[in-house]
């Protein structure tokens, strides 16, 4: 039941503006915490701007999609959908400068596999990753908890795939005017593939996205389902809600259209480089601070741990921020 889900209660935002404001706040908060010594005027020479952060997140959403598509064994769609939700939720309240999206991306997919009961071992999972697999599995297992916490343990995701099936069955039984509703499938898949790359999943309910996908598919086939929606699906009782729904469908379809615009590759490379410099070394597995802390945790000694924490604080106040200048 979507209306009584954590998704509906905690992760549905009112508008794109609200989302962008939250992300800007996240960006500002990060810079305030880590850029105390950077003059206000130059802060964006070193740190990513909110727009650059969004571009980075978007870039890794594309990677997420491709990673899931190429995953072996083949991954059910709801795993991919759930991973997208996790990824987007994570970066509403976290800066890409604090946690690098390449690490969060794979962690989201890994967590989604478990929650959606797509059983793959960590070994199987990282065999889909190029490069140092042992390091990758360490990163994933270390980030798993962080991710859960940042999702506030709201792990159950309602994806649009089930509502799509429901609507197709309904069309087959109650909408005789459309012959062979199965023809809608390619158009539906096309829209749903793209909808995950937009903020629509944080703004609209799964069934609204499902309906948008079906109407998109119908219009591609030059079929018209308007009377099915207004008369059959909504009927007299639902009249009052029709306006809102039409608005939602329109909103989803226009967001999907915008998703086709791909960012400039050279620009992306520059932002990647900028991020490499300004990312928080505390959470960078390649940094010295991180390695020391991991070692301390392995030793599991209060003293060592506190020592590192103290020296971290010193570092925070000195080198870390001075590097910026």
């Amino acid at each position: 039941m979507f209306p009584t889900s954590t998704q509906c209660k905690y992760w549905m935002f009112s508008s794109e503006e609200e989302l962008n404001q939250l992300r800007e706040k996240t960006n500002t908060k990060h810079i305030q915490a880590y850029g105390k010594n950077v003059p206000e005027a130059n802060r964006y020479d070193y740190f990513l701007t909110p727009v650059e952060e969004s571009l980075m997140a978007k870039r890794y959403e594309l990677f997420l999609r491709d990673f899931c598509k190429g995953f072996s064994p083949p991954m059910p769609r709801n795993v991919t959908g759930t991973a997208f939700h996790y990824f987007k939720r994570f970066y509403v309240n976290n800066s890409v400068m604090n946690y690098h999206p390449k690490e969060i991306m794979v962690t989201c997919v890994y967590l989604a596999c478990k929650v959606e009961e797509f059983n793959v071992s960590i070994g199987q999972f990282v065999s889909n990753i190029k490069g140092d697999r042992e390091k990758a599995s360490d990163i994933i297992l270390n980030n798993e908890l962080l991710l859960m916490e940042q999702l506030n343990y709201h792990l159950a995701i309602h994806n649009p795939f089930r509502p799509v099936e429901g609507l197709i069955i309904d069309i087959k039984t109650r909408c005789q005017s459309l012959n062979d509703p199965e023809r809608l499938r390619p158009g539906i898949d096309q829209l749903l593939d793209k909808v995950f790359l937009t903020d629509a999943i944080l703004l609209y309910s799964p069934s609204q996205m499902a309906l948008a996908a079906i109407l998109h598919a119908a219009s591609k086939l030059q079929e018209n389902l308007d009377s099915y929606v207004t008369d059959t699906l909504f009927g007299v009782d639902g009249r009052g809600k029709l306006e809102e729904l039409i608005e939602a469908v329109r909103g989803i379809r226009s967001m999907v259209k915008m998703a086709d615009v791909n960012p400039d590759k050279n620009q992306m490379k520059l932002i990647e480089k900028k991020l490499e410099k300004c990312r928080n070394p505390d959470n960078n597995p390649d940094s010295e601070i991180y390695k020391k802390r991991m070692q301390a945790l392995l030793d599991d000694e209060d003293e060592v741990y506190n020592q590192i924490m103290n020296s971290n604080t010193e570092l925070d106040n000195s080198t870390l921020n001075m590097q910026a200048l």
Binding site: S5, T6, K114, S121, M148, L155, Y305
Partner: protein, 320 residues
């Protein structure tokens, strides 16, 4: 000795707390419960200054990280809480402790209630409850159970200790939903789990489902009348003996066939008593309801939804 244990536990606890961002928000005060699967602490939420119940759950880690079952159960607990069901304890927060090599401590933060039903019963040991009070409590317990069952959750360990009572006398069920995270055999502490509310199929180690909770509720309603446990066995066999003494031994044909560790012939009931004698002042409807919840065959046992429609809940109170 107990102080010592408490002390070291708290120190251990405090240390873990330091490492965690948001469990810092809770100041642990003292242990309020030592369940089979972990400790429950009374704690103070530093932001709201309210009391909370902090349940510490030890999650075993595998090579694959946090077990799938735990993730799904946590997701479900969060999802359930959205309903804010009046007879289910609120889950306020979840936080985690340090991740160790083989385990992870998680803290489930629940609303704190001063009393549970066992304390409530103890307080009342002198004076019986009024019929209408029992009726109301039974109804609320069943409402909570019905809610859990409709969300495909089996409580598995319903007993007066984890049925909480608010100052207004409202019932709230606690301690459910992590059944797969900690199995019956995977106990965190050496506390002996009470058998008193266990259904026969659990005692016989057979497969079980939602009817196990109905059995427990049947035992608890009887206890609300008599103010003492209906079947207080001290071993599986003793527990079954006590059950059969009141309800009669099931027929040989009803005895489960699958790999039974306890044999049918091991029970010889000589001193049979009637439920009406064990639980006096029970109305006819009350008797029927309890008996419908205490059938040996789980398939024939009443369910929460139907039990709530029983005449018992609509008849005129007899002694109020």
């Amino acid at each position: 000795m107990l102080n010592e244990i408490t002390h070291t536990k708290s120190r251990h606890f405090a240390y873990r707390m330091e490492l965690v961002k948001n469990s810092n928000n809770y100041e642990e005060m003292h242990i309020i419960g030592t369940g089979a699967y972990g400790m429950v602490y009374k704690a103070r939420d530093k932001t709201s200054n309210k009391m909370v119940a902090l349940k510490k759950v030890k999650v075993p880690l595998t090579d694959d990280g946090i077990p799938l079952n735990t993730l799904r159960e946590i997701a479900l607990l969060k999802q359930l809480d959205v309903h804010e069901h009046p007879n289910i304890v609120r889950l306020l927060d979840i936080c985690h402790g340090q991740r160790l090599e083989k385990e992870l401590i998680m803290f489930l933060v629940f609303e704190h209630l001063e009393y549970d039903l066992s304390m409530y019963l103890e307080k009342r040991s002198m004076r019986n409850f009024l019929e209408k009070e029992i009726r109301q409590m039974s109804k609320e317990i069943l409402c909570g159970v019905e809610f859990l069952h409709s969300h495909r959750i089996i409580h598995r360990d319903l007993k007066p200790q984890n049925i909480l009572v608010t100052t207004e006398g409202r019932i709230k069920l606690a301690d459910f939903g992590l059944a797969k995270t900690y199995d019956f055999d995977m106990r965190l502490t050496k506390v002996v789990v009470t058998l008193w509310y266990r259904a026969p199929e659990v005692l016989l180690e057979l497969s079980y489902a939602t009817p196990v909770d109905i059995w427990s509720v049947g035992c608890i309603i009887a206890e609300l009348y008599s103010l003492k446990p209906l079947f207080s066995g001290n071993s599986e066999v003793d527990q079954l003996n006590r059950i059969f003494r009141v309800l009669g031994k099931p027929l040989q044909s009803e005895w489960p066939k699958e790999n039974m560790s306890i044999r049918y012939d091991s029970f010889e009931i000589l001193d049979k008593v009637d439920l009406k004698d064990v639980v006096p002042n029970l109305s006819e409807n009350g008797y029927n309801l309890i008996m419908s919840m205490l059938t040996f065959d789980p398939m024939k046992r009443n369910c929460a939804f139907k039990a709530l429609q029983h005449d018992y809940f609509t008849e005129e109170p007899l002694n109020c």
